[in-house]
Symmetry: D2
Subunit: 375 residues, 4 copies
């Protein structure tokens, strides 16, 4: 394991290639199992499954037995992902990592911990490093995010990675649904006392381990935090996000070049035509109208929402509750979406049904204010 | 999960059968993958592996997400094993549990803990319950086994099972290699001070979780304890077991009825003929000669030692160091092996080579005193 | 410190005597301070206090700096108490220990911990050893007392004594005020679920450290447990003891020989005359009448209740709620009080007032059923 | 307690005065005890001690029983010290606090903990706040001081103050005795690996609790750290400080105005005469000569070293090993001592003897290089 971790990129790339080539399934055994396969005999299917298992699986299981093995494997996969990019052989090898990690990092093995000011500096420093949405300025900012009475920070940990979090969510407690990120992040805000709060706002979710890409924790994290906060502060009735719309302007830009065939309300189509997103900022009304259309109707080939954040929250059972213009003055917020932000609402009574509907029909649930924007 | 755990044996058996029937691999997908298989295309092999995965795997991974899920699944498999017995359908389902558990209970996820008198009574009570070799009489006996200066007890734990051990080993510290179990268990023994000890004796190893049958921990446990004890007490130079020979008499009985074809020293053959194990006890010399032959030469069809304890330790890289007559006066010791016991020696310099040789050629390594018995 | 702890009784007794003789206050300094004392000058009073401090105090403070010092000093005082008995010199030395221990073992430095089945066996074994009221039969009995849903056990710990408790109380949760100890201790009792309980019964309080004699913890322990239980189980409205009357028969015996001068209801006087406590058991009615009179009216020279258990609970602010005949079938219960037991009631609304009244006027508060017995 | 803590300075000052006036010893009892005092009767001396105890002691012991009581009392004394200054009544009250705190904060009740990067941010933030000698710049600087391989930080804690340290010492591991503070604090220094270190340098000691003024922990802290480091890193043979000389220039200034009568080497006297410390910086040789004389010979009226840092380390059994010019370029270092710094050496073989000699004769032990400076 030390040898693997010590390799430079070239050596590691070669080694990955060798592994991919040498540790596929046992060819002879696999062909035997295929010949022996009999649709009427479940045992033959299981034998086929065993025979087709790439030997990478056993290799990774053995490497995992070394002290600190899991941690090393997660780091190795992070490097593999960088090297692999679109190389099909290495991507297949990455698939083998992903297959095993999905099983090992099952939610049943994860601990939810609240991160506080009494938490070890080692963990807190990682939180600063890993925050990917709204950067933590310094230790003072961090202290406020973990110990101010109107703030919570929760993270998932896996025992084999000990004090290195997998994912975390930052929560603001408030008396209302926020319409701009500044109202949350401002150090001058009026602090809502936790016992007076009616609303919990998920304002930042960050994945921490590039080596665990594609293993999804966010869904479980949000649900568990909703659960725990409801128990601790029963007066909190509303669980909502304040989320970015990372690809809004990119979509507008793309639409002007390759307009999609889909039917589109005339007003949306006209606005798309007249608006050059690299020249002028749309009016607030136009921005909201475009965002609403984009979030509800723009889909991938597989019929999923084009916007990754929308895909995540709608897939988890949230609904698109509201869209706000001028909600994010940061450079990134302006560049990605002219400052438009979104509330996704987690209503405990609807989560399961929304999730089911979304999974089966792709239906996007939205609130009345979004409905008006769509007209 | 609660529903499953609440079922009586009949209902559970039916449910297991339903699962086995309904959660095999997706038949259509599997056949497609078989048709698409191309030996020259590794991607097609991986697709076949995915398609052949029994959907039980995903079912179990989902069930594991419930609170306490892992614990429940381990209990369910224990019940499945009881029900399944020789039923091929249920044994196949058990294979699916085993496949997943082998991955989840990878040594990389286990903690070794020393069990002491300061350990929680909850854990200690389980040790009493789980001890399967030399029963712990009461809390007084337990206290001596965990806190006497010449005793150690180490256990493996998995984070998802928290305070429920998977396997544990009991160690006696001594100034010499023991030749009888009574010299170890006797409350009247002279206690060797740990700092004066030269020898660590593994005198009892117990698996705790019937639901983890077939997932092997013992090998790792012994090696880790050898490692840890060497560091703590550098004067300990000898690591040895004092082990039973559970099937010696059964083998003798069987040989009289179905003598094996294998070539056998004349003296062994004659002794086997003249000895009726249900009538008379052999002389010590005969018992030792028979035990040596049995342990070194008696093999399963796959060429493994017939004796399960020998199989375990030799497979771990130990060698058969010595055989003792009259070493175990207990009823079980007499019934199984006329009181014969064995030292397997773990020599840190030879473990890796022995293990390799045993795995490839089946060669059983033994010490000079055993060599003399085999002549 | 090791030298002191290693001494046999004779050597230790000599050493204690030497300390008592050599480590009194500095005689010259003390006389100077007395001469310099000026009632109008507070500084001179403080100087006098400093000058009169026995140098044992500084000696003990220095001994306490040794590793494990506090633990050793507590053990030494336990031995001193045994040796001292009525020897005035050693009793004065014991007074010096007591003075310092009262300050060091201030309630502000104590931790209340609930003892459970997950507690370390080391602590639990001490609980078995220390239980002084209703002996714990074995580990099975202990397990029931700490982990049955209708049982609680709380102890005070001091950081310097780590896992060695100072005092503990055992609590039974119930649906009613108990009238006999058997209804609590019986393994065949119907277990009240904690969430259904309305009454918490303190049925056993044990001091653990003979070396801390005279440093009182019980009062704080009971109040803290009342506090904690009220918060955890708000449906518990009644906090009550089931207590022995350890000196009832001794008092009756003494009254027959040395009748007290106090005025006494005729019926009590007559019963005392006719009853030979070593010959016959009184009727239940007589036993109750005598107990009521004894508990409410029999006093020490200082005007405190003669019965030590009554003194403790009444001094803590409880009231004498009820008296039960045939409540304790144990040998000790019969020998001390013909099986009579008592409920002292801790009513949170009255505790402070009762305690105040008792401290100032010696008034014993009692319930209506006791009032009837006193008529 | 809350009422006391909530008071502003005026109200608190009044309250302190009232307490000082009302909670002195019981006047009548005290006079009785004085009259009853009999030099031949130890019991009468003890009675006098009891009678002369200011009732503040009992008051403080009662206040300490409140939740968080100890912490509050320590804070209150910090405020008392500020208010008291030279007011004799309040200083007498402060003496009562000091008397009790000296007993409560006995070394036997303190825990030594190593502070690391895995320590809670809450504790680490306090370390930043409390560092009084060489300010910690930011969290990056802190991380280096607690987790660089050549750095250690140890603190004493009291259980009743939980995570609030009492005192801490910062240690640099090195291959040699340092001659300037910059060589220690510089981020560009070559990091000595802990296993290669031969020398442990105590370069900063900070008291944390103004409310514990006069209760001394430093002596015990250094000895315990010497003990612990010796065990962990047996190759460390030299334990030494790098300390400031806070009053050197002040002493020179004072000597020019009020030359002391003491006999003085001619060269020292001449240098003192010609040197105006507010005008010119002395040559290195002159600075070293003056410092040597000051540290070894300048004494308080009680015969203690005038320099407080010298008093502390010499009183602990260290010897004055070496004096360095230009060792501290900081403003404070220049203003106090023209940058002169000192090594005090803790030689485990001599500590006890040095301490004894210093306590009885006031003798200052010094090394050969200091001897040369004194000629």
């Amino acid at each position: 394991m030390d040898a693997l971790e010590g390799m430079d990129e070239t050596a590691l790339s070669d080694t990955f290639r060798t592994i991919a080539a040498e540790f596929g399934p046992d060819q002879a055994g696999l062909e035997t199992a295929i010949h022996a396969f009999d649709a009427a005999d479940p045992a033959s299917a299981r034998a086929l499954h065993r025979a087709s298992e790439p030997r990478t699986q056993e290799l990774l299981r053995r490497l995992n037995q070394a002290p600190g093995g899991t941690r090393s494997l997660v780091r190795l996969r992070a490097r593999l992902l960088k090297i692999a990019k679109s190389d099909p052989v290495l991507r297949a090898l990455d698939g083998d990592f992903h297959h095993l990690f999905s099983s090992w990092f099952n939610r049943g093995f994860l601990d939810l911990r609240r991160i506080e000011w009494s938490t070890s500096a080692e963990v807190l420093e990682r939180i600063i490093d890993y925050e990917a949405v709204h950067a933590i300025q310094d230790w003072h900012d961090l202290k406020s995010r973990v110990s101010s009475d109107d703030r919570r920070l929760y993270a998932f940990f896996h025992p084999a990675l000990q004090d290195d979090p997998l994912i975390f969510v930052e929560v603001a407690l408030s008396g209302e649904i926020p319409t701009s990120i500044d109202s949350i992040l401002s150090p001058d805000r009026v602090v809502t006392r936790s016992k007076d709060a009616t609303t919990a706002v998920f304002y930042s979710i960050s994945n921490c381990q590039p080596g665990l890409k594609g293993v999804s924790f966010g869904n479980f994290l949000i649900k568990q935090v909703v659960e725990d906060l409801s128990r601790e502060l029963p007066d909190i009735a509303t669980f909502v996000t304040l989320s970015p719309v990372p690809r809004l302007r990119a979509w507008v830009r793309h639409q002007r070049i390759n307009p999609s065939d889909e039917e589109m309300p005339r007003q949306v189509a006209e606005t798309l035509q007249k608006l050059d997103p690299d020249q002028a900022k749309p009016t607030d009304d136009d921005a909201l109208m475009l965002a609403a259309h984009y979030l509800v109707h723009a889909k991938t080939q597989k019929g999923q929402p084009l916007d990754p954040v929308a895909r995540f929250h709608l897939g988890n059972g949230a609904r698109l509750q509201a869209i706000h213009a001028n909600a994010d003055q940061s450079l990134r917020g302006q560049e990605n979406a002219w400052g438009v932000m979104v509330n996704y609402l987690y209503d405990r009574r609807d989560i399961a049904r929304n999730q089911e509907d979304f999974a089966t029909t792709g239906e996007v649930k939205f609130g009345p204010s979004v409905r008006r924007l769509l007209r």
